[in-house]
């Protein structure tokens, strides 16, 4: 029986129809549920949008989607004049769009704005779409509905072509997935049944892809057989892995930590230790820049970035790098050469002291501690160091001081052991410390470099231009709010107290919110934070506090790093959510003094037990050590007096090497070595395969050259190359090669085949007669001989010499 046309088979039409319905209706309802409707409100805090109104009419859009799909199916399934029918439908669509052009454009813009707003609210790098239609919400909803209807009609027509005619699954994927991607990337979920219908179409078409040009009735049969099976699989996956109560598995967290560590180490090959920090990630951890303007909602994966082992007990602030310059909503380092210029101006540049060790030079010492920080996934090229670093052999410790800003990692050095000094056994703050000790006649040691550094560098680079618009605004804000007075911050100002006052003011003015979206374009993010937004997280608080302190004449700088809850003898795994930013103020006679300006709400994750399995490997923080809930005054970023208490709960390891466990059971660890071995084996295998496959393909291609003479000459060269392995070149092969080279005639296909036979025969012969080792190498380079069946293969033609 002659094959009938593909479009005329009822089975094919039925299968295509189901696919098209799934694609069109699934997309329509997925889109509406993703960007509008009530379920969305559990994820986002957004005013009603036009798409909410459209989502309320989901039944109507479902009807339209089915109608459009059927029309498209009919048009593309016609035995003839399909193009005419599709063209007519497209023309009708164009006419409708033309007649309602203004509404369609408005609806499109409104839809894009809604999607962009949602995206910007959920993703840090998302940007809102500035569009004001001037219409009421109801009218915007109507316009968006009209736009979506026309979009759906056009999409159904395109999907009809992709399903019925092109039969390519990836075209369907390209047509339906991109509009949903912003929502999916923003961790929003579409309605699951319609999304599964869409996935059903994708998967079924993928499974039928290799048979897309089969006989029409068979293809239809296959589609109808595949559809229910895929539906069962999708249902099973949904039931086995339900969305409700989903938590990321522990192995994924650990794998991310390991991968991040591997990635960091690999990146070490491409970075220089003494150059500027390479990373430009807008991460709250240490980075070369901190983009406050683009800082959107915080997103953490929970992976471990640092592993800290120390004999210190309490919360450690691990300092990454400090940033000095604030411009256009972005913190950055001082221009290159600034530090060198300052150094050159010193009387004895070789005798300079790293400014971060000034506090440790102060007497008396409170206590000496040691911390070993293993960077397993933190960004940046800096060392995360505790306060206050003692002077030590930096290079031997695998790091190098860079200007006055940070310690750079030496290449390949990921674990650093540092000695640091705790200056707070006598009080909670340096002010109290100084006030208590000064009457006793204890003189602080202030190296002469510290004075020079203050005069020449700190005052020059860590203050704000009060004449600037931002400086005036901040100074005015401080004065109006009572956080500043000329008498208080005049000659003998107390920078630490000023910092606490500013922290209290910020806590009063603003609210801590990790979901804070990025500031609108065109306004300084600090001004927005202080004036309108009034919510933010550590980047906002630290930035605002730094600039406000500078506007008051207090030298201050922005610092990023991590916080870690440490217990002696235990390894503390620092997750990425412990990334933090704070402020350093300059205290004369002491050095840079860190001040916490973010409200205590920022640390509630420590207390809430929202500790994922990675964090759980750290010693749990006893309740008595939880941060002070009262943000005022903000505790100094070092161990407070109450934190010196020994933990009362939780198992205590007998020695520091005790591996952390989760829930008392053995912790799952990814067998990295095994994975590496497997990866290496796979790599070697792939390499060997490539070494064999690529030359073989190259030879096949050359021997199949349309220019038979050229192919024959290449075959002859192959024979010559095989001579070094003991191959033989027959006279006939030489004759054919000479004919190919010198004759005006082209070799016949038979002659070329004969020459190829010589090449293949010689290759097979050598694969048999060579010594084992030579044979292995020969087979590797020249490929394995074709398998011949026993008893049937004729011996290769011997080339008589």
């Amino acid at each position: 029986m002659a094959e009938r046309d593909a479009r005329s088979s009822p089975l094919t039409a039925l299968g295509d129809g189901i696919l098209l319905l799934c694609a069109t209706a699934g997309f329509a309802l997925s889109f509406l549920s993703l960007y509008g409707g009530e379920p969305l409100r559990q994820f986002v805090d957004l005013d009603p949008t036009p798409l909410d109104l459209c989502a309320g009419q989901a039944g109507g859009f479902l009807f339209l989607a089915v109608l459009f799909a059927l029309i498209s199916l009919g048009a593309w399934s016609l035995p003839r004049y399909r193009g005419l029918a599709a063209g007519g439908l497209a023309a009708l669509w164009g006419l409708l769009a033309f007649l309602n052009w203004d509404s369609v454009v408005q609806g499109g813009a409104v839809t894009v704005r809604t999607v962009a707003d949602l995206f910007a609210q959920r993703v840090s790098w998302g940007r809102a779409f500035p569009y004001e239609s001037g219409l009421t919400l109801a009218k915007e909803g109507n316009a968006a509905g009209l736009f979506f209807t026309l979009f759906l009609a056009l999409l159904a027509l395109a999907l009809g072509w992709a399903v019925v005619r092109a039969r390519r699954w990836w075209i369907v994927l390209l047509l339906t997935l991109p509009p949903l991607l912003p929502g999916l990337l923003a961790d929003l979920y579409p309605g699951w049944p319609p999304f599964m219908a869409l996935a059903l179409c994708w998967c079924a078409m993928l499974l039928c892809d290799l048979c897309k040009w089969a006989a029409p009735d068979r293809r239809g049969l296959l589609t109808l057989a595949v559809l229910p099976c895929v539906a069962v699989v999708l249902t099973a996956v949904t039931l086995l892995f339900p969305r409700e109560g989903y938590t990321r598995p522990a192995w994924a967290l650990r794998a991310e930590t390991e991968l991040n560590g591997v990635g960091n180490r690999l990146s070490d090959f491409f970075t220089l230790f003494d150059g500027p920090l390479q990373s430009t990630v807008t991460y709250v951890g240490a980075a070369e820049e901190a983009d406050l303007a683009g800082a959107g909602p915080l997103r953490y994966s929970g992976r471990t970035v640092l592993r800290v082992t120390t004999d210190y007990h309490g919360r450690l602030y691990l300092r990454g790098s400090s940033l000095a310059v604030y411009e256009d909503g972005r913190w950055s380092a001082l221009p290159a050469g600034t530090w060198q210029e300052y150094q050159n101006a010193l009387p004895d540049p070789d005798d300079s002291v790293f400014p971060l060790i000034f506090p440790s030079l102060t007497l008396p010492h409170g206590g000496e501690y040691t911390a070993t920080v293993d960077n397993v996934g933190a960004v940046g090229a800096c060392v995360y160091a505790p306060y206050y670093l003692a002077d030590q052999d930096w290079e031997a410790a695998g790091m190098l001081p860079v200007e006055d800003a940070y310690l750079a990692r030496l290449r390949g050095q990921w674990t650093h052991t540092m000695t640091f000094t705790d200056l707070h056994p006598f009080g909670a703050s340096i002010t109290e410390f100084i006030n208590e000790l000064s009457p006793l006649g204890i003189i602080f040691y202030a190296p002469p470099e510290a004075d020079a550094y203050r005069e020449e560098y700190v005052l020059a680079h860590y203050l704000l231009d009060v004449e600037s618009e931002l400086g005036q605004y901040l100074a005015r804000l401080c004065v109006e709010s009572g956080a500043s007075s000329a008498a208080r911050y005049g000659e003998g100002y107390d920078p630490v107290q000023a910092a606490y006052d500013i922290a209290a003011l910020l806590d009063e003015l603003c609210e801590y919110d990790p979901e804070t979206p990025a500031a609108p374009d065109g306004i300084d993010p600090v001004v927005w934070f202080l004036s309108e937004g009034r919510r933010g997280y550590c980047m906002h608080f630290a930035s605002a506090a730094t600039l406000m302190l500078r506007s008051l004449g207090v030298p201050a700088r922005y610092v990023s790093g991590f916080t870690a809850e440490c217990v002696p003898g235990k390894q503390a795994d620092v997750p990425d959510r412990a990334a933090h930013a704070w402020v350093e103020v300059w205290v004369s006679g002491f050095g840079w003094y860190p001040v916490e300006v973010t409200p205590a709400a920022a640390f509630t994750w420590y207390e809430q037990g929202v500790v994922d399995p990675v964090e759980a490997s750290s010693e749990p923080l006893p309740e008595s050590e939880a941060p002070e809930p009262a943000p005022t005054p903000t505790p100094a970023p070092s161990q407070g007096p109450e934190a010196t208490q020994q933990p009362t709960g939780g198992p205590q390891g007998e020695d520091g090497d005790t591996p952390p466990t989760e829930g008392g059971g053995p912790a799952f660890t990814i067998p990295v070595e095994l994975l590496k071995g497997l990866a290496a084996a796979v790599g070697v295998f792939v390499l060997l395969w490539l070494v064999q496959y690529l030359p073989k393909r190259f030879r096949e291609k050359k021997l199949s050259d349309p220019d038979r003479n050229r192919a024959a000459l290449y075959g002859y060269r192959c024979l010559r190359r095989m001579e070094r392995w003991g191959g033989r070149v027959s006279e006939r092969a030489v004759e054919l090669a000479q004919k190919a080279k010198f004759s005006q005639h082209t070799l016949t296909p038979e002659e070329l085949a004969e020459l190829r036979g010589f090449v293949d025969g010689e290759r097979e012969r050598l694969c048999i007669v060579l010594e084992p080792v030579e044979r292995l190498v020969f087979r590797l380079l020249w490929g394995m001989p074709q398998r011949s069946r026993p008893g049937e293969g004729e011996p290769p033609p011997e080339n008589p010499e």
């Binding site: 999916l184 961790d187 979920y189 996935a199 998967c203 993928l206 499974l207 039928c208 892809d209 290799l210 048979c211 897309k212 040009w213 089969a214 006989a215 068979r218 293809r219 049969l221 296959l222 057989a225 595949v226 099976c229 895929v230 699989v233 999708l234 099973a236 996956v237 949904t238 086995l240 892995f241 969305r243 989903y246 990321r248 598995p249 994924a252 794998a255 991310e256 991968l259 994966s301 929970g302 006939r732 296909p749 038979e750 085949a753 004969e754 036979g757 293949d760 074709q786 398998r787 011949s788 069946r789 049937e792 004729e794 033609p797 011997e798 008589p800």
Partner: protein, 333 residues
């Protein structure tokens, strides 16, 4: 399919990395789906993969040199669902000249016996053979493959184009055909051979009793009347073009002899130098002889029959030898 496997590997790796680095539920769903889909594909494909049958045939089984022939490859799926992709590595070989041609046949979406035609190069005489060296079928995603039972090789005889030749005059007593005798003429103790009836045999030579018993005509001939047949000899070596000309002439001479009711024998040396002698009394034997003549390898260079005169002395004594050469000028004697 390598590309599909690589793409799947990349997709799986991407989804795995997505799951590792993202806490979205969709990442886990995608990973589970990415693992489940190949299993589903395998489950759907396995019945067809296990039960499919591949057949090779030639159409027509024999043709003259330069004729239009086709190889036919047909596949059948047991459950009616199309097979995703069947790949067959084929080797076409001219058993006479030793020329080989390897090709790969890829069939997608085949479900029933619907032969696929492959071209045949019938430029040279010989027995062409198409055999499947390896065949395997993929699942619907193209990730898993399974070997398929290899079919019997297909063969196609490419006959020479016979040259019109005049039969030589054979001297009396040489190359005479054994004469059938009637039973009445046979004396006691005389031995006779039995053979099938050939057109031209006298009716009195028919062994009626046996013929009625076997339901076909059987004639008897006196054994002692056997005399050596005319012997066509040919040196079967050389390049394909030379062989073509040689075989054209050999077939022409054989037909010319048969046309005058002259049975004859053909003698040649095979690729190993072993003599091959075939008797040609009718067309059927001629075709059988051609199969033997064309179905073994003829080397480019080989031993000549003149170098082995003992082969030319048959058991029945001297025979009338007709030596066929590619260029003509066949020697008699």
């Amino acid at each position: 399919m390598i590309l599909r496997r690589v793409l799947y590997g990349l997709a799986l790796l991407g989804v795995l990395l997505f799951h590792i680095t993202n806490e979205n539920y969709l990442a886990q769903f995608l990973l589970a789906l990415c693992v489940a889909l190949p299993l589903l594909s395998l489950a759907l494909s396995l019945p067809g993969m296990l039960g499919c049958r591949l057949e090779l045939s030639a159409a027509p089984p024999a043709l003259e040199r330069g004729g239009d022939g086709r190889w036919l490859a047909s596949v059948e799926s047991p459950n009616g669902l199309p097979l995703s992709r069947l790949t067959v590595r084929l080797t076409g070989e001219n058993l006479l000249t030793g020329q080989k041609e390897r090709r790969k046949l890829v069939l997608s979406g085949v479900a029933r016996r619907r032969p696929v035609e492959l071209t045949v190069s019938a430029a040279h005489c010989g027995l062409l053979e198409l055999r499947a060296d390896r065949a395997w079928v993929y699942d619907y995603l193209g990730l898993f493959s399974l070997g398929v039972a290899l079919p019997h090789p297909a063969r196609m005889l490419v006959r020479p184009i016979p040259v019109h030749m005049e039969p030589p005059s054979i001297p009396e007593g040489l190359g005479a055909r054994p004469s059938p005798v009637s039973a009445a003429r046979m004396g006691p103790g005389e031995e006779c051979d039995l053979r099938d009836y050939r057109p031209g045999d006298p009716m009195r030579a028919v062994h009626w009793k046996l013929s009625s018993k076997w339901d076909e005509l059987i004639v008897r001939e006196r054994a002692d009347t056997l005399v050596p047949l005319p012997l066509l000899t040919l040196d079967r070596f050389g390049p394909p073009e030379t062989l073509d000309r040689l075989l054209d002439r050999a077939l022409g001479m054989s037909r010319a002899l048969l046309a005058v009711q002259r049975p004859h024998a053909m003698l040649w040396l095979d690729g190993d130098g072993q003599p091959q002698l075939r008797t040609v009394s009718d067309e059927k034997q001629q075709i059988d002889c051609l199969h033997d003549l064309l179905g073994s390898f003829a080397p480019p260079v080989g031993p000549a029959l003149d170098d082995q005169p003992e082969l030319l002395r048959g058991a029945g004594g001297a025979s009338f030898r007709i030596h066929i050469t590619p260029e003509g000028g066949d020697g008699h004697g």
